[in-house]
């Protein structure tokens, strides 16, 4: 009898323990609301991770999608009114300054072990941080790289003709001057081929392309953090000679882009590259992925990428003069910076939410997301960049080595350039976009356009509070507070 009773109690204990084993940690009854831009990009990665997380924890996830343009207003109104509408928010690093006060810190247990060590320092030491605290988890890595075509650059005939004309070997450009030489060389309208493709359309992410040029002439390693503003006075630097040179360069590129490129946004320049209409383009990693897509691409097997071109002279705002360097200083620009996940303090399920974030950004789940078509997730972990085999389902080996080399080379560059992150980000970029498109259309001269932007930026800084903006700018540039 005692034996039977013991067996029964044991069976009851096992059955009671079974759900707990299935749900580890147990979030039964918890439904997380996750905000993100309309899919498939990024949203599909979150949905896949949601299924995994639900199986592990028995919690549920409701991925709520909004068009990109509506995402920030939804977030900021939800955060400011503490509605608790979202448990997890997917956002861009540029929004972090406006959102940081309403976001919880990443739990200490996520800031240790292999999970933490595997994240590239550019993200975990800079972009995930605001005012010294880890406020976000990176779920996507983004930067501008130069894409070029292997079939053209590795063609012996093209190499011979190029060397005869320009006196140096045809190779991925190390400097912007070389970039324009190569672009001019491959501009052959009669054959439907153009040198390069960049985005110039207002509202088509043009300002990030302009920043990619400007980084080479203005991100001076001798005066850290002086690219956009003077880090001591918060005076706008966007009209200094470095920026003017960058705008002149950027505008010059129109001569080597296909006709009508003033109306091309980033989504238009990708098919130009994968369709074989241009020899190069500047873009995020998406161009490379599209170039390897067997259904869409006409350059299969020929996707190549490199770090953005550089400059050996960089404007020094303290000396008001150009600093000359012995070699071009690579200043690859982390445009946009990738998608991040944050957990609002107003969330009713903060612990579960961070657990979900950990699942999305885990080495295993993210490792699958980066090689799954349509996720829009690009490498941001060291393991993403070192594991070439993982990429062979998309790329040929030479393509994978080149693609990953460009990403790692950019992130590892000593003078890697971070995007502008400042409260009121869109107010600054809107003012820039208007004047930029006027200058590109030839309505005003580059200097006049940038003078107007600088005046508007200074006015915005005054309106938003100069001291607060200066403190935020220094924090975003990784500089200590002013004494």
């Amino acid at each position: 009898m005692v034996h039977k009773l013991a067996t029964l109690v044991g069976a009851l204990m096992v059955s009671a323990a079974t759900p707990a084993l299935a749900c580890e940690p147990d979030y039964t009854g918890v439904t997380l609301s996750v905000g993100v831009q309309t899919g498939p990009f990024v949203a599909s990665a979150l949905k896949t991770a949601s299924d995994n997380w639900s199986k592990k924890t028995c919690g549920k996830v409701n991925v709520v999608e909004f068009p990109f343009g509506e995402l920030f207003p939804k977030y900021i109104t939800a955060l400011q009114s503490s509605t608790g509408d979202f448990d997890v928010m997917a956002f861009t690093p540029a929004w972090l300054p406006d959102m940081a006060d309403f976001l919880s810190d990443m739990p200490a247990n996520m800031q240790q072990g292999e999970y933490w060590a595997d994240i590239h320092p550019a993200y975990k030491e800079r972009l995930m941080i605001w005012n010294g605290k880890v406020k976000a988890a990176q779920m996507d890595g983004d930067m501008h790289t130069l894409q070029y075509r292997g079939d053209l650059f590795e063609n012996p005939e093209e190499q011979k003709t190029f060397k005869a004309k320009y006196g140096y070997d045809l190779a991925p450009p190390k400097t912007w001057d070389q970039y324009y030489d190569i672009a001019a060389f491959f501009t052959r309208p009669d054959k439907g081929l153009f040198g390069t493709a960049e985005a110039y359309k207002r509202g088509g992410q043009q300002f990030w392309f302009f920043f990619s040029h400007a980084a080479s002439y203005t991100n001076n390693p001798n005066v850290p953090g002086s690219m956009f503003f003077d880090p001591e006075t918060m005076k706008a630097e966007i009209n200094n000679p470095g920026w003017v040179k960058a705008l002149e360069d950027y505008k010059k590129g129109l001569d080597f882009n296909p006709p009508g490129s003033l109306n091309n946004g980033s989504s238009e320049i990708r098919p130009l590259y994968s369709g074989g209409k241009v020899a190069m383009n500047i873009d995020w990693g998406d161009s490379g992925i599209l170039g390897a897509d067997k259904k869409e691409s006409r350059i299969i097997g020929n996707v190549r990428a490199s770090v953005l071109p550089a400059s050996a002279k960089i404007w020094n705002i303290k000396k008001s003069a150009w600093d000359e360097f012995p070699e071009p200083v690579a200043s690859p620009f982390l445009a946009f910076g990738g998608w991040q996940l944050g957990v609002p303090t107003s969330s009713a399920h903060m612990e579960a939410a961070w657990n979900y974030v950990q699942e999305v950004t885990s080495i295993e789940t993210s490792g699958k997301a980066i090689v799954t078509a349509g996720t829009g997730v690009n490498p941001y972990r060291l393991s993403h960049m070192s594991n070439v085999e993982n990429w062979l389902s998309i790329f040929s080996r030479p393509e994978a080595v080149s693609y990953l080399g460009a990403i790692k080379g950019s992130l590892d560059a000593k003078n890697v350039t971070f995007d502008l992150r400042l409260p009121g980000f869109f107010n600054y970029t809107e003012a820039l976009e208007i004047e930029l498109s006027k200058a590109l259309a030839g309505q005003v001269e580059p200097q006049a356009a940038l003078d107007a932007v600088a005046a508007e930026w200074d006015s915005l800084t005054e309106e938003f509070g100069k001291d607060k903006q200066l403190a935020a700018y220094r924090a975003s540039m990784g500089l200590p507070p002013l004494k």
Binding site: Q80, P259, G260, N427, E430, A441
Partner: protein
């Protein structure tokens, strides 16, 4: 007397609902227009009086948006009316195939403006669009349809005309079908020519409807945003930016709610002024014709 009071009691719920859903937001927006209020960076709202209005009235961008909107609306509505009336007259005369044309003509207005703009963007695309490809094939230069201000405004007007002419056709056709037959029979007995019948009978009798149709189209046209947003984004610079797109950029890109509210009320004033002037000009014309 008591019954008289009770009837007002029944009106109150409806009045309160109207107050809550329409009047209150309007009053709230009006108060916001006199404040400096931004969502990002989150700064405390402060009363600034007429500063938002004066700032806009002194801004070249505001007047540029008014000019751009007016040009697009005036050109597109004028063409919509002329073509719409001509099509309505053709359909009313029972041209061969009229039963087929009628649904076909109406097709564009059933499409969402965003979808129409996306199709137009592909057609007018400088690199991938068939129009420029065809022009280049014939030896013409590549035309800057969406990248040069005048061309871009013309393209926006063309898209508006394509989409909304059917509505004008539909309304004018309904008007034509409602005209009394006796007048036309009398004109036929008097051997009036088709032009005389149109100019002396049809057009004057349709004038009140025409005034209303043009008025509706002008008011709707002034609200244009989606087509411009998709085709040009307001560029190059701000040369194709309409008033509503300007308000959208202030409110939803810069989150400058004070300025966006002030802009909305200025927009309301522009429309009201436009309506008053239009009706004042149309009234003597209608009285003379009828």
């Amino acid at each position: 007397m008591r019954d008289e009071r009770i009837k007002y009691l029944f009106v109150w719920p409806a009045f309160l609902i109207v107050l809550a859903v329409s009047i209150f937001p309007l009053i709230y927006a009006l108060t916001v227009s006199f404040q400096s209020m931004r969502l990002t960076p989150p700064l405390p709202a402060r009363f600034v009086g007429l500063e938002n209005y004066l700032g806009l009235l002194a801004s070249a961008r505001f007047w540029g948006a008014i000019a751009t909107t007016s040009i697009i609306v005036l050109i597109s509505v004028a063409v919509q009316y002329c073509v719409g009336l001509a099509l309505a007259l053709s359909l009313h005369s029972n041209v061969p195939g009229e039963r087929l044309y009628r649904p076909l003509f109406l097709f564009p207005m059933f499409m969402a403006p965003v979808a129409v703009a996306l199709v137009a963007r592909m057609i007018f695309s400088p690199t991938l669009g068939p129009l420029n490809e065809f022009a280049t094939f014939l030896g013409f230069p590549n035309l800057p349809f969406l990248t040069q201000a005048n061309w871009a405004i013309a393209v926006i007007a063309i898209v508006e005309i394509w989409q909304w002419t059917p509505l004008v056709t539909l309304l004018m056709l309904a008007g034509l079908q409602g005209l009394p037959r006796e007048v036309f029979e009398a004109a036929a007995i008097e051997n009036a020519s088709p032009w005389q019948r149109f100019w002396s009978i049809t057009f004057p009798m349709l004038l009140p409807l025409s005034v209303a149709v043009v008025f509706i189209r002008i008011i709707e046209g002034l609200k244009i945003i989606d087509t411009v947003f998709v085709l040009t984004g307001g560029g190059p610079g701000t040369s194709t930016e309409t008033l509503t797109l300007f308000a959208y950029n202030e409110g939803f890109k810069k989150f400058n709610l004070g300025q966006a509210s002030a802009l909305s009320f200025l927009f309301l004033m522009v429309i009201t002024l436009f309506g008053i002037v239009y009706l004042a000009l149309a009234r003597p014309l209608m009285e003379k014709r009828t």
